[in-house]
């Protein structure tokens, strides 16, 4: 299915969990979304491979990582957040606000309906 597509450069990120066939594997859907967004931004030239690898490594080598490595994508998301704020695409406070807004929207959304940011009652 996807066997003939070239693996994205980002699939070569340090420590990325891989299947025996060499594909990235994700424990939860949000991890795949974070990976996909990073792939797109890199493809569009928003940042270079070396910029990404440096920021990701910085997050991965922070003290306090979980011994089983299950926080790998937490680090990935922290690295992506860091990079987009360093590039002045957004600010840490805007990201925090939107994060809380999405959480309020989720709780406010009735079962069976799509969760939309507009559903946040505080917006």
């Amino acid at each position: 299915m996807n066997a003939h597509e070239p693996a994205p450069r980002l699939a070569g990120s340090p420590g990325l969990p891989k299947s025996p066939e060499g594909d990235p594997v994700f424990a939860e859907p949000w991890q795949a979304e974070a990976f996909a967004m990073t792939v797109r931004l890199h493809e569009k030239g928003v940042f270079s491979w070396s910029e990404w690898a440096e920021v990701l490594s910085r997050e991965l080598y922070r003290p306090g990582r979980r011994a089983d490595g299950s926080d790998y994508f937490d680090c990935w998301v922290a690295a992506l957040s860091c990079l987009v704020t360093e590039l002045s695409i957004t600010s840490e406070s805007q990201l925090d606000q939107l994060t809380r807004s999405w959480q309020r929207a989720a709780v406010a959304t009735p079962h069976g309906q799509p969760i939309l940011l507009e559903n946040d009652p505080a917006r």
Binding site: E28, A32, F35, R40
Partner: protein
């Protein structure tokens, strides 16, 4: 065609849990959504393009716990009975428990009946058991059409069932999620649990497909 039944258990659970909010985003889920929102607003990403990339990896996401549930049910009649009586406990006995403590119900395909689960659009889909839902599955038209015309929807996915086979549609509720236990394919008597689990596709556990046949490729 009126032989199709739509099972909607919504009303069965409304006498308790009035304040229970089923939808919840973890910190990381919400953070990723926040990044997606900002990057989309700035025109740097297109959610459809992100979906397309995620779709490439959809079979690599989440543990395929459900496949083992199905394989075990095929091999062990006692386990299958347990699944019928109390799927939540039977599935939990394998170490697969939902993060939100949702109840699971196993619906068994038979020669007479085919089961189809309708996905919900919110965060209730039990991906830890079933794997990531396909992108089309989350689309509102699919949900409504699957209830009205399940046979037609299945045909679009390449699954043509005999007219004599009844289709039951199951719509998950806030407290109850479904897994389809497909019929065991012929010629699998010699397979162990691992071999059987390899035949169980995600689509066969939501009822939009059938298990792979022995020797069928990945």
């Amino acid at each position: 065609m009126t032989s199709e039944d739509t099972m909607q258990d919504h009303n069965h659970h409304h006498d308790h849990d009035h304040d229970h909010h089923d939808n919840h985003f973890s910190d990381m889920q919400a953070r990723v959504k926040a990044l997606e929102t900002v990057l989309t607003q700035k025109g740097l990403i297109d959610p459809a393009a992100i979906d397309a990339i995620v779709e490439t990896y959809e079979t690599k996401i989440g543990p395929r716990n459900g496949a083992h549930v199905v394989a075990k049910a095929w091999r062990e009649p006692d386990f299958a009975d347990w699944l019928v009586r109390d799927a939540t406990a039977a599935i939990a006995s394998l170490g697969y428990t939902g993060r939100q403590g949702e109840h699971m119900r196993a619906v068994f395909n038979t020669p007479e009946t085919h089961n189809l689960v309708v996905c919900t659009l919110c965060s209730c889909y039990p991906w830890a058991v079933l794997g990531l839902p396909p992108v089309w599955y989350k689309a509102p038209p699919y949900r409504s059409r699957a209830v009205i015309d399940p046979r037609g929807v299945l045909q679009e996915f390449g699954l043509t069932l005999p007219e004599t086979k009844r289709i039951r549609v199951w719509d998950s509720t806030a407290e109850l999620r479904y897994i389809v236990i497909p019929e065991r394919p012929a010629g699998t008597e010699g397979l162990d649990e691992e071999g059987l689990a390899d035949l169980v596709t995600r689509d066969s556990m939501i009822g939009t497909g059938l298990p792979k046949l022995v020797g069928e490729g990945q």
